[in-house]
């Protein structure tokens, strides 16, 4: 039964969105069996995110380094930035930003105060180049930044930069700064370049190399580049063994840094990046400001970390549990007293608050609304997309709105009922609006209300044939819906491997979902389980890949056409 649900999950409003994924599926592992096999290929290239960049710099150079830059915008596909970002490159203005940032980081890391801790050696003469010391620095930092040892030619290129710079400026450290800048703007740092090698255990097949595995695990669990131990496990091959991998995973999940990884995942899945650009009309929501916006995001993340990581609670409780944290600005929005001397205090909403879990926190309610009103449709679409894995198609272009009346009076329900009675709209609005209408006791900022334009708000709704009432009814419904944990499993897997899931993944996802139930829906166990599975490291050979010899050969087959697929 679970299987059927997964298969139909993207069949929404009569449009089979999954067809897109089918049409562009690249060929699997078979191409390695053809004659003239490349020794190594690069199956994927993904730009690191802003938080990954920041965390890596803090890990490598210490938390004192200031990072002041505008990062390139990210792109969400199928609900996840982790999927959309795989398509992105670096624009000219983005390059400018990364370049200026790299110069600033080099200046800080190799400035007079910090150079003694940053550089593992002393130059023979600080006014001249010193290849021995420069090499030591470049190799050691290069490995942390590229997440693998540098090739000799990569090292030599930076050595050349360092020594020419030192000679020209008469300053060893000025030269070293240039070499470091060159590592920091290199595509090998800014992009995760995944590499696969021939698998010694399976003739003609590829496997991800040790460093790529280490990097995948590290960004997945810590949202940062691999540390020394992980790089060592890659170097000595331990990461390829079951025991070696398990050991690393256990170490990483029991580290406090695991919280960074979980935060990053939920930032992405819950689309909390939207707070960067959220605006509200101050005439309508005077309490909204940047502090409220930041606090709302933090509240949800704190709730999740406490519940799922620290207390190891059942994932599904997020929809019904009212245990959370508040600070002073949020207390004003929720209209509750705040008596703590700390910045944040734990708080449990009473039943009478009408609230039910994360769907009724200010973050979800304000993010998926308009600047001056709530939006049942937007909220409904996001409930389906984020928690049930159902994508809603774009509205049809030429809709007949003639029946849709102006509704400055009464409640929004009336206006939406018009949509539901309209042929072109009904297919989707019948599906998207009920979960949103159930949340209508909360305005566009998430404040409780029971009337709109003087009329009392009806929050009864029906979804998949089940009648329910209000936010608490919706929370219960989601808690017990088997698609909710199944969708989480899919999102976590897609997030970790950085690509859309395909038909081929369904059996694996279904197994993982069953296993998730068996471990009581505990998130850390699920992430460990996924990261330890061979599927997590499966190599997907991209189209148009050519031999990894020193002289590139043009691809023999035309690349698959990925455009022109209409949905």
């Amino acid at each position: 039964m679970m299987g059927t649900q997964l298969l139909i999950k993207r069949w929404v409003c009569g449009v089979f969105i999954g067809a897109l994924a089918l049409a562009v599926t690249p060929s699997f592992n078979s191409s390695a069996q053809r004659a003239g096999v490349a020794r190594t290929i690069k199956p994927a290239l993904r730009r690191i995110t802003e938080t990954q960049y920041r965390r890596t710099i803090a890990d490598v150079f210490g938390p004192g380094i200031k990072i002041n830059a505008r990062f390139e915008p990210e792109k969400r596909e199928e609900g996840l930035l982790a999927i959309g970002n795989a398509e992105l490159s670096l624009t000219s203005s983005g390059f400018e930003q990364y370049f200026a940032l790299a110069i600033s980081i080099s200046d800080q890391a190799l400035g007079e105060r910090q150079r003694a801790t940053s550089v593992p050696c002393k130059p023979a003469n600080p006014n001249q180049s010193d290849d021995v010391c420069a090499r030591q620095f470049i190799e050691s930092y290069g490995e942390r930044l590229f997440r693998r040892p540098l090739t000799e030619s990569e090292t030599l290129a930076r050595l050349k930069t360092a020594s020419a710079g030192a000679e020209r400026s008469g300053d060893f450290y000025a030269g070293l700064k240039l070499a470091l800048t060159s590592l920091l703007v290199a595509p090998e740092f800014i992009f995760r370049v995944e590499t696969a090698e021939l698998d010694p255990a399976n003739k003609g097949q590829y496997r991800l190399d040790g460093y790529t595995k280490a990097t995948r695990v590290s960004f997945f669990l810590w949202d940062s580049a691999p540390d020394h131990e992980l790089l060592t496990a890659a170097r000595n091959g331990a990461i390829h063994t079951e025991a070696g991998l398990k050991q690393q995973l256990n170490r990483m999940i029991s580290s406090p840094r695991f919280e960074d990884g979980v935060r990053a995942f939920f930032m992405d899945m819950l689309q909390l990046d939207g707070f960067e650009n959220l605006v509200k009309d101050p005439a309508i929501y005077p309490k909204f400001n940047q502090t409220v916006s930041d606090s709302a995001r933090e509240q949800t993340l704190k709730t999740i970390i406490d519940s799922l990581v620290r207390k190891k609670r059942d994932y599904r409780d997020l929809f019904t549990s009212n245990d959370t944290f508040i600070n002073r600005p949020l207390a004003a929005v929720y209209r509750i007293p705040f008596a703590s001397n700390n910045e944040w205090a734990s708080y449990t909403f009473p039943q009478s608050s009408g609230r039910s879990g994360i769907l009724t926190q200010v973050s979800f309610l304000s993010l998926f609304a308009h600047p001056g009103t709530s939006s049942p449709t937007r909220r409904g679409i996001k409930v389906l997309e984020i928690f049930l894995g159902e994508l809603t198609p774009e509205p049809p272009a030429n809709v007949d709105f003639s029946k849709v009346q102006d509704s400055s009076k009464g409640t929004v329900r009336g206006r939406l009922l018009d949509h539901m009675n309209n042929k072109g709209c009904a297919g989707c609005h019948r599906r998207t609006d009920p979960p949103g209408l159930a949340l209508e006791h909360f305005d566009g900022l998430g404040q409780l209300r029971t009337t709109e334009n003087g009329k009392s708000i009806d929050v009864s709704a029906e979804f998949d044939g089940v009648k329910f009432d209000g936010a608490q009814g919706l929370g219960k419904l989601l808690r017990d819906d088997p698609r909710v944990p199944a969708s989480l499993v899919r999102n976590i897997y897609a997030y970790g491997v950085g690509r859309k899931t395909e038909d081929r993944d369904e059996a694996f996802l279904s197994d993982q979902t069953k296993a998730f139930a068996n471990i009581g829906y505990r998130l850390p166990d699920l992430m460990a389980q996924i990261a330890s599975s061979p599927e997590f490291f499966r190599v997907v050979v991209p189209s148009g890949v050519h031999r990894a010899s020193s002289t590139p050969v043009a691809p023999t087959t035309a690349p698959k056409k990925t455009k022109g697929v209409s949905r």
């Binding site: 690249p26 490349a38 190594t40 690069k42 290239l45 390139e72 915008p73 792109k75 398509e87 992105l88 490159s89 670096l90 624009t91 000219s92 983005g94 390059f95 370049f99 030619s153 990569e154 290129a157 930076r158 050349k160 930069t161 020209r168 000025a174 240039l178 060159s182 703007v185 595509p187 992009f191 650009n277 959220l278 605006v279 009309d281 101050p282 309508i284 308009h370 600047p371 001056g372 009103t373 774009e394 272009a397 030429n398 809709v399 709105f401 003639s402 849709v404 050979v541 991209p542 189209s543 148009g544 890949v545 050519h546 031999r547 020193s550 590139p552 698959k560 455009k563 697929v565 949905r567």
Partner: protein, 451 residues
């Protein structure tokens, strides 16, 4: 400090596309009567900009047009929604009746219209173009001799920053979204005042060049074993790297003096707000900075988004956003159009008027910066209530250094929008003879507006 240049080497420099800004006392002798070109035909640099606003203008099926003039040619009348263009009417051509043609592809709401105008191809999916946007071709042709090849701006202050400029169809440019950010980019670190007398090449720039060459050395090794899609991404990366190299090289050249260049003071940080007034003010502030950036020869090409396709702007205190109003507001039976929507469209056009006036305020030669520019302004839809991609409002503003026979209304009965795009490319001298695909493929610019 004066430069030993004679007229011949000066003009050669211009024709080679070196950094050109015009030293006025020197130049006056060579300008023709209207200040747009040299007496012997060489021109002042022409700038190009794409200006986008969301949600079209009002032109209802019931005949209640609020923007399409009834007369064509020079003496077209200013319709209510175009009222704000009055101060620059003679420098603006209005194009009506052009449409995006899908050839069977669906009309993707708030996407197909401008994707067609910019890429020449009806897009297959929202969020992507099926080809590069044409501003990149113009930038490649006229943008390589300034510090920035192109400047991207989004003044809308709502949701994700938006740009519709793309080389790959997937990665879109990263726009500046606040006056302060734009100021910092144009006039912050790295800006060299062209009128400063004590210019010296900055030795740190030379050192920085070596940073980039170390990366280029590794290109071939990096490309090996990479799939097709990732090759495209890496190509874009290396294009961006080359733009950076070009920027450094230009910073090592002594900039030519620019009489019109008066670097502004840094603006204050502005609070985020997406009310129509706030977005209009933001547009104006950013237009002023951009105009000075153009006058100071920091860039020759820009993309400016006033509001995105699904504009989130609102009238302060009113609960509905503009986008929602276009769909929900009934047509007033007596007026024949949606009064509230039309009012909002007029405010949006006021921002375009402000924008053009800012460019027109800067004197260059005997004309203005606007005279030496071409701005193509357009929207994503025609009549927004039904997401129409017919009769998408399009304008060409500025005389393009005299090449644009501005101030006309050109009406078409359903020809492709790509004709206007092609015209824009040719007016600013991009070497493009044909644009678009399928029914939208065209080799016919609109000759009526080309001098």
């Amino acid at each position: 400090m004066s430069l030993p240049i004679d007229r011949r080497s000066f003009l050669r420099g211009m024709l080679n596309g070196a950094a050109v800004c015009v030293g006025l006392p020197f130049l006056d002798r060579f300008l023709n009567g209207n200040g747009t070109a040299f007496a012997d035909g060489a021109r002042l640099p022409v700038r190009f900009g794409a200006y986008f606003w969301g949600l079209g203008l009002t032109d209802t099926p019931t005949g209640g047009t609020r923007w399409v003039p009834s007369k064509t040619g020079r003496d077209y009348e200013l319709m209510p929604e175009l009222e704000s263009l009055k101060p620059v009417k003679d420098k603006v051509s209005v194009f009506s009746g052009f449409r995006a043609i899908g050839d069977g592809r669906p009309n993707l709401v708030h996407w197909s219209g401008h994707a067609s105008i910019l890429s020449g191809v009806a897009p297959a999916a929202t969020g992507r173009f099926d080809g590069p946007s044409f501003d990149t071709r113009i930038a490649d042709a006229i943008g390589t001799s300034t510090r920035f090849k192109v400047i991207d701006i989004d003044a809308s202050m709502s949701r994700q920053p938006v740009s519709y400029s793309t080389r790959t169809g997937n990665t879109f440019a990263t726009p500046e979204t606040t006056p302060l950010a734009l100021y910092t980019r144009l006039f912050g670190a790295g800006f060299q005042d062209p009128n400063s007398d004590d210019w010296k090449p900055d030795p740190s720039i030379m050192l920085r060049q070596s940073v980039l060459s170390a990366i280029k050395d590794q290109r071939q090794a990096l490309m090996a074993g990479v799939g097709k899609a990732d090759q495209i991404k890496l190509d874009q990366y290396f294009t961006s790297l080359r733009d950076m190299e070009n920027q450094l090289a230009i910073q090592l050249q002594k900039p030519e003096k620019c009489a019109a260049c008066a670097p502004p003071a840094a603006p204050k940080e502005t609070p985020r707000s997406a009310s129509v007034d706030a977005v209009r003010a933001n547009t104006r502030a950013m237009a002023r900075l951009l105009a000075m950036g153009l006058a100071c020869n920091q860039t020759r090409v820009f993309n400016f988004v006033h509001t995105s396709g699904t504009s989130e702007t609102y009238i302060a205190g009113q609960s509905k956003i503009y986008h929602q109003i276009t769909h929900d507001e009934p047509i007033d039976a007596k007026l024949g159009y949606q009064p509230e929507t039309s009012k909002l469209a007029s405010i949006v056009m006021e921002a375009l008027g402000d924008f053009l006036v800012e460019l027109d305020a800067i004197k260059e030669g005997e004309g203005t910066l606007l005279d030496n520019s071409l701005i193509m302004a357009f929207s994503d839809t025609g009549y927004a209530k039904i997401h129409s991609i017919e009769n998408i409002p399009m304008f060409l503003a500025g005389r393009a250094g005299g090449r644009h026979k501005a101030g006309q209304h050109i009406h078409s009965t359903g020809e492709s929008v790509t004709r206007v795009s092609l015209t824009a490319m040719q007016l600013v001298g991009a070497p493009v003879g044909e644009f678009g695909s399928g029914t939208m493929k065209t080799a016919r610019p609109i000759t009526e507006v080309i001098a």
